[in-house]
Symmetry: none
Subunit: 133 residues, 4 copies
Amino acid sequence: MFIELDLQSETPIYAQLVDQIVEGIASGALQPGDPLPSVRRLAEDLGINLHTVNKSYNLLKQEGFLQVHRKKGVIVQPDGMPGVTEAFEEKLRRQLRSLAAAAAVRGMTEEVFAQESRSVYRNTITNHGGEQH
Amino acid sequence: MFIELDLQSETPIYAQLVDQIVEGIASGALQPGDPLPSVRRLAEDLGINLHTVNKSYNLLKQEGFLQVHRKKGVIVQPDGMPGVTEAFEEKLRRQLRSLAAAAAVRGMTEEVFAQESRSVYRNTITNHGGEQH
Amino acid sequence: MFIELDLQSETPIYAQLVDQIVEGIASGALQPGDPLPSVRRLAEDLGINLHTVNKSYNLLKQEGFLQVHRKKGVIVQPDGMPGVTEAFEEKLRRQLRSLAAAAAVRGMTEEVFAQESRSVYRNTITNHGGEQH
Amino acid sequence: MFIELDLQSETPIYAQLVDQIVEGIASGALQPGDPLPSVRRLAEDLGINLHTVNKSYNLLKQEGFLQVHRKKGVIVQPDGMPGVTEAFEEKLRRQLRSLAAAAAVRGMTEEVFAQESRSVYRNTITNHGGEQH
DNA sequence: GTGGTCTAGACCACT
DNA sequence: GTGGTCTAGACCACG
């Protein structure tokens, strides 16, 4: 796996895991239908607790990014990703607002902020593209 | 006060307070040198504990957004806001990356994402400008 | 533990704790990566409140002397200590100025004052060195 | 007066006043027997509270740096300054220890630390010299 | 009256 | 069991 955890970070490990898997999907490194390591396997590889991996997988399942089959194990959602729900829009805006305010106070202009957003988006997609759904 | 807290939210109260005060500064509702309510006062107004407000004020003080003036009490930094440090850039990018990935997976295009960022930025500034140095 | 607190002192307990931990690092008694007692544990050992220890740990974390590791708990900064920042130089000079003035007024010569500084420095390092980067 | 107060500082105003007066004596700007402004006068000049000035003067009187006469008002100790008491030595060492440890941890060498101390001492004396007592 | 400090006790998220 | 968060009540230094 391409996953790197920062045990010193203040973001919980399970959240870091979620983020990195989502980024993996966004970048195309993980394609719809692709299998993910089993809970046990991944936990061992990363040197973390089973519960932690489990929590991440469950969250991703709830969001519709993953499917969990008894047989196939865990795979990336093959039937189309969730799409931009209202809940997501709201969450996105709420977080952007917080970031934008901090940026503005520190003197970062609208132009730079928007450009920063664009370039970060582009970099997360590099390898391929996020035209799922 | 213009502050609204969601006591049920999973984001800590103190963090919400920090965000809203920063947004207040960004929007111009709070001008450099402006006094903020005393910890006791604000705590009572918001129906929360004094220590929670204190924690928020302290964080903002450490970041350089607020100062404790021995006569005026707590005031908005009058001597120029912190500016875009490398640490801030990094934090900004890290958070943007997470948002961008989720957006991309859900099918939101780069264009829409950047536009969203821009419009959110603009809305936080509405009232008036961010002429920090 | 090697920590001694003076509960009657006018310097806050949390500040004494901070000082002693820094001295522990300087003397080599605490090595980079070494774990510190949990807040609860140390609080109990010292007979003080958990929050007081917490405050000290937090300050040291913000200064970059400690880290919170999600598995090891609180540890001494393993990735290199902060270094001599301008802010630190300023604080150092401000405090030295106050001490030097009092010393001078009482008739202590420059030579003695400098020698005193040197010998105190040497004594804090005794056990072993300060090979921070 | 040559006194500058920093109302944003975390050092209490009365302590800043004490420091600056001691520095004034150390530098020779204030000579033994020299009169100081009355409590009222100084308070007004500095825009601070009477009690604050009073507290500073009292502390300096207790330490033996000032004399308070009903007639002459407040004057700089004309009968020889206190000298290096054991209590002072202890306080000096305690504070130096804290500074030295922080300096050492940040990588400042003994040589630099001692040199810093020496140069700060020299600068506080510039105008004249502290050979009282 | 203000912020700073300390104590005490409680719940929760995380691992 | 760990750190993080929140509440509650209290004392003190400061101005």
